[in-house]
């Protein structure tokens, strides 16, 4: 390769390399702020600030959703299988919000460690399948569990 072009190639590679390193360091420095939400384990460890708007995300614990009979108030727990955070919310939940599914709640943590949510979002996972396949999976899972029990 012509020496001038070789020099330009090196400059181009340096531009890419150094800008990547700069952005990489920036992302590393801001890593806590880039996360959209706190997992319940970090909330339990006291890493989440009290009295400030934060987001907590995780799986909605099966059987934890309690709806009020006469209002839109709802209480549930989110977990990352290491810790759970109770959430209280008053409002309309997204259609895909369900027990055993992901959710992200934004609100303020009170002294009791309860998140007083002002917004609850459903977090969709990466699984896509037709209803029949989901039913078949569910059925085989139930069968497997029964088999283990016997």
């Amino acid at each position: 390769m012509h020496p001038v072009r070789k020099q330009r190639l090196i400059i181009v590679l340096c531009v890419v390399l150094f800008s990547s390193a700069a952005v990489g360091l920036m992302a590393y420095a801001l890593r806590g702020n880039i996360n959209l939400f706190f997992p319940p384990a970090e909330v339990a460890a006291g890493k989440a600030p009290l009295g400030q708007p934060i987001r907590v995300g995780g799986m909605v614990v099966e059987g934890s959703v309690q709806r009020s009979a006469d209002s839109l108030a709802v209480r549930f727990e989110v977990t990352d299988y290491q810790a759970t955070v109770p959430v209280v919310y008053e409002g309309i939940l997204p259609d895909l919000f369900d027990e055993g599914q992901g959710a992200v709640a934004s609100g303020v943590l009170d002294e009791q460690g309860v998140l007083r949510a002002t917004e609850v979002l459903a977090k969709h996972d990466e699984n896509y399948m037709p209803p029949e396949v989901a039913e078949a999976l569910e059925a085989s899972k139930a069968k497997g569990m029964k088999g283990q029990g016997e």
Binding site: V15, V23, N35, L36, L96, E119, L121, N127, Y128
Partner: protein, 244 residues
């Protein structure tokens, strides 16, 4: 190999070869797009949780995938333009930007439309969505920067540096859902290991991704032909071509 590279630098040759590629690629692309879209929208089963709203995947994912790949094409053209001072690389770089910007915009808009019924919000500042918005600004920045210069060579140089610096954003977009907690779900199509999308939904998606790659190529070549004609408007071969 070098002779091919040298030929690429010749405007009439590039104009001609782009035309003959387009002659068969353009109808094929349209056919594949229609086939893929109708397969995905009409003949695939609904999702077990999202119902029919998941079908936006057939536009959203291909647009996003090709918007990322298109950025690499633009940056590569920028690198060639910087190193070899090849005018046709400038043309390719300039032609990439509006196509990539359009695809990024489509990915963002379809994502917002899907987000409302699924997540419960149009927009959230999570790592994936924010970095995708930065990609849109990078594409728009390249377009604006190019137009800001009167001198074409200076414009190409500035745009090439901007597009090269911007490449760092592409792996960030791609890995954002794995590196940070985000609302956006991780990838369903995996290169290693099993995909978490049912084959009946995956095959039309694959066809749509391939169609979008072809569509990007077609738009790129069409844009390049226009730009070549504009730059070479005073040359003999263009005058002969238009019969003036």
């Amino acid at each position: 190999m070098w002779s091919f590279f040298h030929k690429l630098g010749s405007p009439p040759w590039l104009y001609g070869i782009a035309g003959s590629i387009l002659r068969w690629l353009l109808p094929l692309t349209l056919l594949a797009l229609i086939a893929g879209a109708s397969w995905g929208l009409l003949f695939t089963p609904p999702d077990f949780r999202q119902g029919n709203s998941y079908r936006i995947i057939y536009i959203h994912v291909p647009a996003a995938v090709v918007a990322l790949a298109g950025y690499y094409v633009m940056a590569l053209a920028g690198a060639v333009s910087l190193i070899w001072k090849m005018k046709m690389a400038d043309v390719a770089m300039k032609a990439c930007a509006p196509v990539g910007a359009a695809l990024t915009f489509i990915a963002l808009v379809t994502g917002a439309i899907w987000g409302k019924p699924t997540w419960g919000t149009w927009w959230v500042w999570d790592a994936r969505i924010t970095s995708m918005l930065i990609l849109l600004f990078l594409y728009l920045g390249v377009i604006a920067l190019y137009e800001a210069y009167d001198n074409k060579a200076a414009a190409a140089k500035a745009c090439a540096v901007l597009s090269l610096v911007g490449t760092v954003n592409i792996p960030i977009i791609y890995k954002s859902v794995d590196w940070w907690y985000s609302l956006h779900q991780p990838a369903s199509i995996k290169f290693t290991g099993g995909s978490t999308i049912d084959p009946s939904m995956l095959y039309p998606l694959m066809l749509m991704i391939a169609s979008f790659y072809a569509l990007f190529t077609c738009c790129l070549l069409l844009n390049m032909r226009v730009e070549i004609l504009r730059r070479e408007a005073r040359t003999n071969w263009v005058r002969k071509l238009v019969g003036a």
